[in-house]
Protein backbone atom coordinates (compact mmCIF):
# COMPACT_ATOMS: atom_id res chain seq x y z
CA UNK A 1 0.00 0.00 0.00
CA UNK A 2 2.62 2.49 1.10
CA UNK A 3 4.83 1.20 -1.66
CA UNK A 4 2.15 1.94 -4.17
CA UNK A 5 1.61 5.44 -2.90
CA UNK A 6 5.29 6.17 -3.00
CA UNK A 7 5.69 4.74 -6.45
CA UNK A 8 2.80 6.62 -7.97
CA UNK A 9 3.79 9.84 -6.30
CA UNK A 10 7.27 9.51 -7.68
CA UNK A 11 6.02 8.47 -11.06
CA UNK A 12 3.71 11.42 -11.19
CA UNK A 13 6.55 13.78 -10.26
CA UNK A 14 8.83 12.26 -12.85
CA UNK A 15 6.28 12.42 -15.62
CA UNK A 16 5.23 15.94 -14.73
CA UNK A 17 8.78 17.15 -14.57
CA UNK A 18 9.68 15.43 -17.81
CA UNK A 19 6.78 17.18 -19.48
CA UNK A 20 7.92 20.48 -18.06
CA UNK A 21 11.36 19.88 -19.46
CA UNK A 22 10.05 20.05 -22.98
CA UNK A 23 7.33 22.58 -22.31
CA UNK A 24 9.36 25.21 -20.49
CA UNK A 25 10.33 28.10 -22.71
CA UNK A 26 13.46 28.81 -20.83
CA UNK A 27 16.32 26.36 -21.20
CA UNK A 28 17.60 26.90 -17.70
CA UNK A 29 14.21 26.09 -16.27
CA UNK A 30 14.09 23.03 -18.48
CA UNK A 31 17.35 22.00 -16.90
CA UNK A 32 15.87 22.56 -13.47
CA UNK A 33 12.92 20.32 -14.28
CA UNK A 34 15.26 17.74 -15.68
CA UNK A 35 17.17 17.79 -12.43
CA UNK A 36 13.95 17.23 -10.57
CA UNK A 37 13.08 14.32 -12.82
CA UNK A 38 16.50 12.78 -12.33
CA UNK A 39 16.18 13.11 -8.59
CA UNK A 40 12.83 11.37 -8.88
CA UNK A 41 14.52 8.50 -10.65
CA UNK A 42 17.08 8.35 -7.90
CA UNK A 43 14.30 8.03 -5.39
CA UNK A 44 12.76 5.23 -7.44
CA UNK A 45 16.06 3.40 -7.42
CA UNK A 46 16.24 3.68 -3.68
CA UNK A 47 12.79 2.27 -3.42
CA UNK A 48 13.97 -0.64 -5.52
CA UNK A 49 16.84 -1.09 -3.08
CA UNK A 50 19.35 -0.17 -5.74
CA UNK A 51 21.08 2.38 -3.57
CA UNK A 52 24.26 2.34 -5.56
CA UNK A 53 22.38 3.19 -8.67
CA UNK A 54 20.63 6.03 -6.89
CA UNK A 55 23.90 7.43 -5.63
CA UNK A 56 25.53 7.17 -9.02
CA UNK A 57 22.48 8.73 -10.61
CA UNK A 58 22.76 11.77 -8.40
CA UNK A 59 26.51 11.99 -8.57
CA UNK A 60 26.87 11.57 -12.30
CA UNK A 61 23.69 13.04 -13.70
CA UNK A 62 22.68 15.69 -11.23
CA UNK A 63 26.09 16.67 -9.91
CA UNK A 64 28.10 16.21 -13.06
CA UNK A 65 26.23 16.18 -16.31
CA UNK A 66 23.64 18.73 -15.37
CA UNK A 67 26.37 21.08 -14.23
CA UNK A 68 27.88 20.84 -17.67
CA UNK A 69 24.45 21.24 -19.26
CA UNK A 70 23.91 24.43 -17.35
CA UNK A 71 27.39 25.55 -18.22
CA UNK A 72 26.57 25.30 -21.88
CA UNK A 73 23.09 26.74 -21.54
CA UNK A 74 24.46 29.76 -19.74
CA UNK A 75 26.97 30.39 -22.47
CA UNK A 76 24.28 30.32 -25.11
CA UNK A 77 22.24 33.38 -24.65
CA UNK A 78 18.99 32.01 -23.30
CA UNK A 79 17.14 35.23 -23.64
CA UNK A 80 17.53 35.32 -27.35
CA UNK A 81 16.47 31.71 -27.62
CA UNK A 82 13.25 32.53 -25.87
CA UNK A 83 12.25 34.79 -28.68
CA UNK A 84 13.03 32.34 -31.39
CA UNK A 85 10.26 30.46 -33.07
CA UNK A 86 9.23 27.39 -31.14
CA UNK A 87 7.51 25.72 -34.07
CA UNK A 88 9.90 24.75 -36.76
CA UNK A 89 9.21 23.01 -39.99
CA UNK A 90 10.14 19.75 -38.38
CA UNK A 91 6.79 19.45 -36.72
CA UNK A 92 5.47 16.93 -39.23
CA UNK A 93 8.37 14.64 -38.58
CA UNK A 94 7.88 15.20 -34.90
CA UNK A 95 4.26 14.16 -35.08
CA UNK A 96 5.17 10.97 -36.92
CA UNK A 97 7.79 10.04 -34.40
CA UNK A 98 5.56 10.89 -31.49
CA UNK A 99 2.79 8.74 -32.88
CA UNK A 100 5.22 5.89 -33.36
CA UNK A 101 6.42 6.09 -29.81
CA UNK A 102 2.86 6.34 -28.56
CA UNK A 103 1.89 3.24 -30.49
CA UNK A 104 4.78 1.40 -29.01
CA UNK A 105 3.85 2.46 -25.50
CA UNK A 106 0.23 1.53 -25.97
CA UNK A 107 1.30 -1.86 -27.25
CA UNK A 108 3.41 -2.39 -24.19
CA UNK A 109 0.66 -1.35 -21.86
CA UNK A 110 -1.85 -3.59 -23.58
CA UNK A 111 0.41 -6.58 -23.57
CA UNK A 112 1.32 -5.88 -19.99
CA UNK A 113 4.13 -7.56 -18.17
CA UNK A 114 4.08 -10.69 -20.27
CA UNK A 115 6.70 -9.40 -22.68
CA UNK A 116 9.18 -8.62 -19.95
CA UNK A 117 11.07 -11.53 -18.62
CA UNK A 118 11.95 -10.63 -15.08
CA UNK A 119 14.47 -12.72 -13.28
CA UNK A 120 14.39 -12.67 -9.56
CA UNK A 121 17.94 -12.38 -8.30
CA UNK A 122 19.01 -14.70 -5.52
CA UNK A 123 18.16 -13.32 -2.12
CA UNK A 124 21.76 -13.25 -1.09
CA UNK A 125 22.50 -10.60 -3.64
CA UNK A 126 19.86 -8.31 -2.28
CA UNK A 127 21.13 -8.25 1.22
CA UNK A 128 22.15 -4.98 2.48
CA UNK A 129 25.82 -4.50 1.94
CA UNK A 130 26.12 -6.58 -1.18
CA UNK A 131 24.44 -4.22 -3.57
CA UNK A 132 27.55 -2.38 -4.65
CA UNK A 133 29.59 -5.47 -4.91
CA UNK A 134 27.03 -7.18 -7.11
CA UNK A 135 26.97 -4.32 -9.54
CA UNK A 136 30.72 -4.23 -9.63
CA UNK A 137 31.06 -7.93 -10.22
CA UNK A 138 28.46 -7.88 -12.94
CA UNK A 139 30.09 -4.96 -14.69
CA UNK A 140 33.56 -6.41 -14.66
CA UNK A 141 32.69 -10.01 -15.52
CA UNK A 142 29.46 -10.62 -17.40
CA UNK A 143 29.23 -7.19 -18.95
CA UNK A 144 32.88 -6.45 -19.35
CA UNK A 145 32.72 -6.04 -23.10
CA UNK A 146 29.79 -3.59 -23.18
CA UNK A 147 31.43 -1.74 -20.34
CA UNK A 148 34.67 -1.35 -22.23
CA UNK A 149 32.86 -0.42 -25.41
CA UNK A 150 31.00 2.26 -23.54
CA UNK A 151 34.19 3.65 -22.09
CA UNK A 152 35.87 3.70 -25.49
CA UNK A 153 32.85 5.50 -26.89
CA UNK A 154 33.06 8.07 -24.16
CA UNK A 155 36.75 8.50 -24.79
CA UNK A 156 36.07 9.12 -28.47
CA UNK A 157 33.39 11.63 -27.57
CA UNK A 158 35.75 13.38 -25.22
CA UNK A 159 38.50 13.64 -27.80
CA UNK A 160 35.97 14.89 -30.31
CA UNK A 161 34.79 17.55 -27.93
CA UNK A 162 38.33 18.71 -27.28
CA UNK A 163 39.04 18.89 -31.00
CA UNK A 164 35.86 20.84 -31.61
CA UNK A 165 36.51 23.24 -28.78
CA UNK A 166 40.15 23.88 -29.48
CA UNK A 167 40.68 24.64 -33.09
CA UNK A 168 44.34 25.12 -32.66
CA UNK A 169 45.95 22.35 -30.74
Amino acid sequence: MIDQIIFYTLAFIIVAMSLMVILARNAVRSALYLISALLGFAALYIRLQAELLAGVQILVYVGGIMVLFLFVIMLVSVRTMEHQARQTRQWKAAVVIALGVAAELIYLIVRGGSIFVTKQPPDALLTKSQNTQVVGEALYSTYLLPFEIASVLLLVAMIGAVVLAKKKI
Binding site: V76, S77, K167
Partner: protein, 378 residues
Amino acid sequence: MEHDIFGAIDEKTVLDANQVVINMGPQHPSTHGVLRVKLTLDGERVIDTDCIIGYLHRGTEKIVENRPYAAGVPYFDRTDYVAAVSNNLGYVECVEKMLGVEVPPRVQYIRTMMTEFQRIASHLLWLGTHALDIGAMTVFLYAFREREEILKLFEALFGARLTIHAFRIGGLWQDLPVGFLDACRRFSDTIGEHINEYEGLLTNNRIWLERTRDIGVISAQDAIDLGLTGPVLRGSGVNYDVRKARPYSAYADFDFDIPLGVHGDTYDRYLVRIEEMRQSNRIIQQCITRMPTGPIRAKAPRVIKPPVGEYYHSVEGPKGELGYYIVSEGKTSPYRVRIRPPTFINLQALKKLVKGHLVADVVAIIGTLDIVLGEIDR
Protein backbone atom coordinates in the same frame (compact mmCIF):
# COMPACT_ATOMS: atom_id res chain seq x y z
CA MET B 1 47.03 23.83 -37.54
CA GLU B 2 43.92 25.33 -38.99
CA HIS B 3 40.93 23.19 -39.65
CA ASP B 4 39.06 24.50 -42.59
CA ILE B 5 36.22 22.12 -42.04
CA PHE B 6 35.16 24.17 -39.10
CA GLY B 7 35.64 27.39 -40.91
CA ALA B 8 32.10 27.36 -42.18
CA ILE B 9 30.68 27.59 -38.69
CA ASP B 10 30.58 31.09 -37.48
CA GLU B 11 31.21 30.76 -33.79
CA LYS B 12 29.23 33.83 -33.04
CA THR B 13 26.08 32.18 -34.16
CA VAL B 14 26.75 29.17 -32.01
CA LEU B 15 27.99 30.93 -28.93
CA ASP B 16 27.52 34.62 -28.78
CA ALA B 17 29.26 34.71 -25.46
CA ASN B 18 32.63 34.93 -27.11
CA GLN B 19 33.14 38.51 -26.12
CA VAL B 20 31.73 39.94 -22.99
CA VAL B 21 32.12 43.55 -22.05
CA ILE B 22 32.30 43.89 -18.33
CA ASN B 23 32.53 47.00 -16.28
CA MET B 24 35.01 46.85 -13.49
CA GLY B 25 34.12 49.77 -11.33
CA PRO B 26 33.50 52.58 -10.68
CA GLN B 27 32.39 50.76 -7.58
CA HIS B 28 34.60 47.77 -7.37
CA PRO B 29 36.68 46.73 -4.40
CA SER B 30 39.88 46.35 -6.34
CA THR B 31 40.02 49.42 -8.49
CA HIS B 32 41.22 51.41 -5.50
CA GLY B 33 38.73 54.17 -5.89
CA VAL B 34 36.32 55.24 -8.54
CA LEU B 35 38.21 53.90 -11.49
CA ARG B 36 36.09 52.27 -14.12
CA VAL B 37 37.72 49.77 -16.40
CA LYS B 38 35.76 48.49 -19.31
CA LEU B 39 37.05 45.03 -19.99
CA THR B 40 36.36 43.18 -23.17
CA LEU B 41 36.65 39.55 -22.33
CA ASP B 42 36.91 36.36 -24.26
CA GLY B 43 35.87 33.94 -21.58
CA GLU B 44 37.98 35.27 -18.78
CA ARG B 45 40.77 36.49 -21.02
CA VAL B 46 41.11 40.20 -21.48
CA ILE B 47 41.11 41.34 -25.07
CA ASP B 48 40.85 45.05 -24.57
CA THR B 49 40.52 47.56 -21.81
CA ASP B 50 39.38 51.11 -21.62
CA CYS B 51 39.87 53.15 -18.50
CA ILE B 52 37.17 55.64 -17.77
CA ILE B 53 38.35 58.14 -15.22
CA GLY B 54 37.42 61.53 -13.96
CA TYR B 55 34.80 60.57 -11.41
CA LEU B 56 36.84 62.34 -8.78
CA HIS B 57 37.80 65.34 -10.86
CA ARG B 58 37.74 68.43 -8.72
CA GLY B 59 39.62 70.82 -10.92
CA THR B 60 42.52 71.21 -8.54
CA GLU B 61 44.63 72.91 -11.16
CA LYS B 62 41.92 75.44 -11.79
CA ILE B 63 41.28 76.05 -8.13
CA VAL B 64 44.84 76.83 -7.23
CA GLU B 65 45.03 79.36 -10.04
CA ASN B 66 42.71 81.44 -7.96
CA ARG B 67 44.38 80.94 -4.62
CA PRO B 68 47.48 82.49 -3.14
CA TYR B 69 50.51 80.30 -3.44
CA ALA B 70 50.52 79.29 0.19
CA ALA B 71 46.84 78.49 0.17
CA GLY B 72 47.42 76.04 -2.64
CA VAL B 73 49.36 73.63 -0.49
CA PRO B 74 46.38 71.91 1.13
CA TYR B 75 44.86 71.22 -2.25
CA PHE B 76 47.78 69.00 -3.03
CA ASP B 77 47.15 66.98 0.09
CA ARG B 78 44.11 65.84 -1.73
CA THR B 79 45.56 64.79 -5.02
CA ASP B 80 47.48 61.74 -3.93
CA TYR B 81 45.77 61.61 -0.60
CA VAL B 82 47.78 58.69 0.65
CA ALA B 83 51.06 60.49 0.03
CA ALA B 84 50.23 64.03 1.02
CA VAL B 85 53.70 64.78 2.34
CA SER B 86 55.35 64.01 -0.97
CA ASN B 87 52.85 66.16 -2.80
CA ASN B 88 53.43 69.05 -0.45
CA LEU B 89 57.15 68.71 -0.80
CA GLY B 90 57.04 68.94 -4.56
CA TYR B 91 54.84 72.00 -4.63
CA VAL B 92 56.52 73.80 -1.78
CA GLU B 93 59.97 73.24 -3.20
CA CYS B 94 58.87 74.36 -6.62
CA VAL B 95 57.58 77.64 -5.25
CA GLU B 96 60.68 78.06 -3.14
CA LYS B 97 62.86 77.52 -6.17
CA MET B 98 60.99 80.22 -8.02
CA LEU B 99 61.26 82.54 -5.09
CA GLY B 100 64.90 81.78 -4.68
CA VAL B 101 64.37 80.84 -1.08
CA GLU B 102 66.81 78.41 0.43
CA VAL B 103 65.40 76.58 3.40
CA PRO B 104 67.62 75.79 6.37
CA PRO B 105 69.20 72.36 6.64
CA ARG B 106 67.05 71.31 9.56
CA VAL B 107 63.99 71.88 7.45
CA GLN B 108 65.53 69.93 4.62
CA TYR B 109 66.24 67.01 6.89
CA ILE B 110 62.85 67.00 8.49
CA ARG B 111 61.21 67.22 5.12
CA THR B 112 63.30 64.41 3.77
CA MET B 113 62.61 62.26 6.77
CA MET B 114 58.89 62.84 6.69
CA THR B 115 58.78 62.24 2.97
CA GLU B 116 60.45 58.92 3.46
CA PHE B 117 58.00 58.06 6.19
CA GLN B 118 55.33 58.91 3.72
CA ARG B 119 56.93 56.67 1.17
CA ILE B 120 56.86 53.79 3.60
CA ALA B 121 53.27 54.56 4.52
CA SER B 122 52.26 54.72 0.90
CA HIS B 123 54.04 51.50 0.08
CA LEU B 124 52.45 49.85 3.08
CA LEU B 125 49.05 50.84 1.84
CA TRP B 126 49.97 49.56 -1.57
CA LEU B 127 51.26 46.30 -0.14
CA GLY B 128 48.19 45.76 1.95
CA THR B 129 45.68 46.44 -0.76
CA HIS B 130 47.68 44.63 -3.42
CA ALA B 131 47.91 41.56 -1.24
CA LEU B 132 44.26 41.80 -0.34
CA ASP B 133 43.34 41.96 -3.99
CA ILE B 134 45.18 38.73 -4.52
CA GLY B 135 43.48 37.29 -1.50
CA ALA B 136 46.10 37.56 1.24
CA MET B 137 44.00 39.26 3.84
CA THR B 138 46.35 39.18 6.76
CA VAL B 139 49.07 41.21 5.09
CA PHE B 140 46.56 43.97 4.67
CA LEU B 141 45.98 44.28 8.38
CA TYR B 142 49.64 43.92 9.21
CA ALA B 143 50.51 46.71 6.82
CA PHE B 144 47.85 48.95 8.25
CA ARG B 145 49.17 48.32 11.72
CA GLU B 146 52.54 49.83 10.80
CA ARG B 147 51.01 52.55 8.70
CA GLU B 148 49.08 53.56 11.76
CA GLU B 149 52.34 54.22 13.57
CA ILE B 150 53.46 56.49 10.78
CA LEU B 151 50.19 58.33 10.83
CA LYS B 152 50.63 58.86 14.53
CA LEU B 153 53.98 60.44 13.83
CA PHE B 154 52.34 62.67 11.25
CA GLU B 155 49.71 63.62 13.73
CA ALA B 156 52.33 64.59 16.25
CA LEU B 157 54.25 66.74 13.84
CA PHE B 158 51.66 68.07 11.45
CA GLY B 159 48.53 67.89 13.51
CA ALA B 160 46.66 65.66 11.12
CA ARG B 161 46.89 62.18 9.77
CA LEU B 162 45.94 62.08 6.15
CA THR B 163 45.47 65.45 4.54
CA ILE B 164 48.08 67.08 6.60
CA HIS B 165 49.29 70.29 5.02
CA ALA B 166 52.73 69.11 5.92
CA PHE B 167 55.04 71.88 4.78
CA ARG B 168 54.85 75.61 4.41
CA ILE B 169 56.55 77.58 1.72
CA GLY B 170 59.86 78.45 3.28
CA GLY B 171 59.84 76.01 6.13
CA LEU B 172 57.70 74.15 8.54
CA TRP B 173 54.74 74.88 10.66
CA GLN B 174 56.43 73.84 13.85
CA ASP B 175 59.61 72.24 15.02
CA LEU B 176 59.78 68.62 15.96
CA PRO B 177 57.84 67.99 19.15
CA VAL B 178 59.70 66.75 22.19
CA GLY B 179 60.53 63.08 21.89
CA PHE B 180 59.59 62.96 18.25
CA LEU B 181 62.93 61.68 17.09
CA ASP B 182 62.82 58.93 19.71
CA ALA B 183 59.45 57.88 18.39
CA CYS B 184 60.86 57.89 14.89
CA ARG B 185 63.78 55.81 16.03
CA ARG B 186 61.49 53.31 17.70
CA PHE B 187 59.52 52.95 14.52
CA SER B 188 62.61 52.77 12.40
CA ASP B 189 64.11 50.04 14.56
CA THR B 190 61.12 47.79 14.23
CA ILE B 191 59.91 48.33 10.70
CA GLY B 192 62.61 46.07 9.31
CA GLU B 193 61.26 43.12 11.25
CA HIS B 194 57.77 43.91 10.17
CA ILE B 195 58.82 44.00 6.55
CA ASN B 196 60.33 40.57 7.08
CA GLU B 197 57.00 39.51 8.44
CA TYR B 198 55.20 40.58 5.28
CA GLU B 199 57.81 38.93 3.19
CA GLY B 200 57.42 35.77 5.22
CA LEU B 201 53.80 35.67 4.20
CA LEU B 202 54.35 36.51 0.58
CA THR B 203 57.79 36.51 -0.94
CA ASN B 204 58.29 32.76 -1.15
CA ASN B 205 54.67 31.80 -1.06
CA ARG B 206 53.96 29.52 -4.00
CA ILE B 207 50.57 30.99 -4.66
CA TRP B 208 51.91 34.53 -4.48
CA LEU B 209 54.64 33.64 -6.93
CA GLU B 210 52.17 32.06 -9.29
CA ARG B 211 49.93 35.07 -9.10
CA THR B 212 52.59 37.71 -9.63
CA ARG B 213 55.39 36.21 -11.68
CA ASP B 214 55.17 36.91 -15.40
CA ILE B 215 52.05 38.93 -14.83
CA GLY B 216 51.95 42.36 -16.40
CA VAL B 217 55.41 42.16 -17.87
CA ILE B 218 56.72 45.32 -19.43
CA SER B 219 60.13 45.77 -20.94
CA ALA B 220 62.37 48.66 -20.00
CA GLN B 221 61.92 50.27 -23.37
CA ASP B 222 58.15 50.04 -23.31
CA ALA B 223 58.10 51.31 -19.77
CA ILE B 224 59.99 54.44 -20.74
CA ASP B 225 57.90 54.86 -23.84
CA LEU B 226 54.78 54.74 -21.73
CA GLY B 227 56.25 57.33 -19.42
CA LEU B 228 56.16 55.03 -16.43
CA THR B 229 58.08 56.26 -13.45
CA GLY B 230 58.69 55.19 -9.93
CA PRO B 231 58.75 51.56 -8.82
CA VAL B 232 56.84 50.53 -11.91
CA LEU B 233 59.68 51.76 -14.09
CA ARG B 234 62.39 50.47 -11.81
CA GLY B 235 60.75 47.08 -11.73
CA SER B 236 61.72 46.85 -15.37
CA GLY B 237 65.30 47.59 -14.52
CA VAL B 238 65.54 51.23 -15.50
CA ASN B 239 67.62 53.13 -13.03
CA TYR B 240 65.72 56.36 -12.86
CA ASP B 241 64.90 57.85 -9.54
CA VAL B 242 64.52 61.58 -9.20
CA ARG B 243 66.12 61.42 -5.78
CA LYS B 244 69.35 60.33 -7.46
CA ALA B 245 68.95 61.91 -10.88
CA ARG B 246 68.18 65.43 -9.69
CA PRO B 247 68.65 65.39 -5.94
CA TYR B 248 66.33 67.74 -4.16
CA SER B 249 65.75 68.52 -0.52
CA ALA B 250 68.51 66.78 1.39
CA TYR B 251 68.74 63.59 -0.61
CA ALA B 252 72.24 64.31 -1.80
CA ASP B 253 73.45 63.87 1.77
CA PHE B 254 72.29 60.33 2.26
CA ASP B 255 73.38 56.87 1.35
CA PHE B 256 70.71 54.76 -0.18
CA ASP B 257 70.32 52.35 -3.01
CA ILE B 258 67.82 52.25 -5.78
CA PRO B 259 66.45 48.73 -6.02
CA LEU B 260 65.89 47.55 -9.55
CA GLY B 261 63.87 44.71 -10.95
CA VAL B 262 64.86 42.45 -13.77
CA HIS B 263 61.82 41.00 -15.46
CA GLY B 264 59.47 43.92 -15.19
CA ASP B 265 56.68 41.73 -13.88
CA THR B 266 54.39 42.19 -10.94
CA TYR B 267 56.63 40.19 -8.68
CA ASP B 268 59.67 42.33 -9.44
CA ARG B 269 57.70 45.47 -8.77
CA TYR B 270 56.66 43.93 -5.50
CA LEU B 271 60.26 43.22 -4.58
CA VAL B 272 61.32 46.71 -5.64
CA ARG B 273 58.77 48.34 -3.41
CA ILE B 274 59.59 46.11 -0.48
CA GLU B 275 63.25 46.98 -0.83
CA GLU B 276 62.39 50.65 -1.25
CA MET B 277 60.78 50.57 2.14
CA ARG B 278 64.01 49.28 3.61
CA GLN B 279 65.99 51.94 1.80
CA SER B 280 63.61 54.61 3.00
CA ASN B 281 64.18 53.36 6.47
CA ARG B 282 67.90 53.71 5.89
CA ILE B 283 67.40 57.33 4.93
CA ILE B 284 65.25 57.89 7.96
CA GLN B 285 67.89 56.45 10.23
CA GLN B 286 70.51 58.72 8.71
CA CYS B 287 68.17 61.66 9.14
CA ILE B 288 67.63 60.82 12.77
CA THR B 289 71.28 60.50 13.60
CA ARG B 290 72.38 63.52 11.65
CA MET B 291 69.48 65.82 12.29
CA PRO B 292 70.95 69.31 12.27
CA THR B 293 69.81 72.06 14.56
CA GLY B 294 68.81 75.48 13.46
CA PRO B 295 65.81 77.47 12.39
CA ILE B 296 62.84 75.84 10.84
CA ARG B 297 61.88 78.69 8.60
CA ALA B 298 63.68 80.44 5.86
CA LYS B 299 63.32 84.15 5.55
CA ALA B 300 60.58 83.90 3.04
CA PRO B 301 58.43 86.79 2.00
CA ARG B 302 55.14 87.09 3.71
CA VAL B 303 53.24 87.54 0.52
CA ILE B 304 54.55 85.04 -1.90
CA LYS B 305 54.97 86.51 -5.32
CA PRO B 306 57.42 84.62 -7.45
CA PRO B 307 58.82 86.57 -10.36
CA VAL B 308 57.44 86.14 -13.83
CA GLY B 309 58.62 82.84 -15.11
CA GLU B 310 58.04 79.17 -15.02
CA TYR B 311 59.54 76.24 -13.26
CA TYR B 312 59.16 72.50 -13.41
CA HIS B 313 60.16 70.73 -10.27
CA SER B 314 59.74 67.04 -9.77
CA VAL B 315 60.21 64.84 -6.77
CA GLU B 316 60.21 61.11 -6.46
CA GLY B 317 56.83 60.41 -5.03
CA PRO B 318 56.05 56.96 -3.73
CA LYS B 319 54.28 56.20 -6.97
CA GLY B 320 56.58 57.85 -9.44
CA GLU B 321 57.86 61.14 -10.63
CA LEU B 322 55.62 63.79 -9.19
CA GLY B 323 56.16 67.06 -11.01
CA TYR B 324 54.88 70.55 -10.52
CA TYR B 325 55.03 73.01 -13.35
CA ILE B 326 54.22 76.49 -12.19
CA VAL B 327 53.83 79.48 -14.43
CA SER B 328 54.00 82.75 -12.58
CA GLU B 329 52.90 86.10 -13.84
CA GLY B 330 54.28 87.78 -10.79
CA LYS B 331 51.01 87.76 -8.94
CA THR B 332 50.12 86.43 -5.58
CA SER B 333 48.52 83.41 -7.09
CA PRO B 334 50.02 81.19 -9.74
CA TYR B 335 49.03 81.72 -13.32
CA ARG B 336 49.04 78.02 -13.98
CA VAL B 337 49.93 75.04 -11.89
CA ARG B 338 50.31 71.76 -13.61
CA ILE B 339 50.71 68.57 -11.67
CA ARG B 340 52.50 65.79 -13.41
CA PRO B 341 50.52 62.97 -11.90
CA PRO B 342 52.56 59.79 -11.85
CA THR B 343 49.67 57.45 -11.34
CA PHE B 344 47.63 59.03 -14.10
CA ILE B 345 50.44 58.30 -16.47
CA ASN B 346 51.16 54.90 -15.00
CA LEU B 347 47.53 53.91 -15.30
CA GLN B 348 47.75 54.44 -19.00
CA ALA B 349 49.97 51.38 -19.14
CA LEU B 350 47.15 49.21 -17.82
CA LYS B 351 45.87 48.58 -21.31
CA LYS B 352 49.17 47.19 -22.40
CA LEU B 353 49.86 45.29 -19.23
CA VAL B 354 46.62 43.37 -18.96
CA LYS B 355 46.20 42.42 -22.55
CA GLY B 356 45.94 38.67 -22.79
CA HIS B 357 45.75 38.12 -19.07
CA LEU B 358 42.79 36.90 -17.08
CA VAL B 359 40.31 38.89 -15.07
CA ALA B 360 42.04 37.93 -11.87
CA ASP B 361 45.27 39.39 -13.22
CA VAL B 362 43.62 42.70 -13.96
CA VAL B 363 43.18 43.07 -10.26
CA ALA B 364 46.79 42.17 -9.61
CA ILE B 365 48.00 44.60 -12.25
CA ILE B 366 45.89 47.48 -11.04
CA GLY B 367 47.36 46.75 -7.67
CA THR B 368 50.91 46.69 -8.91
CA LEU B 369 50.49 50.03 -10.65
CA ASP B 370 49.68 51.49 -7.25
CA ILE B 371 47.17 54.01 -8.43
CA VAL B 372 45.30 56.53 -6.39
CA LEU B 373 42.28 58.09 -7.96
CA GLY B 374 42.59 61.40 -6.22
CA GLU B 375 45.68 62.03 -8.21
CA ILE B 376 44.49 60.52 -11.46
CA ASP B 377 41.39 62.64 -11.53
CA ARG B 378 42.69 65.65 -9.64
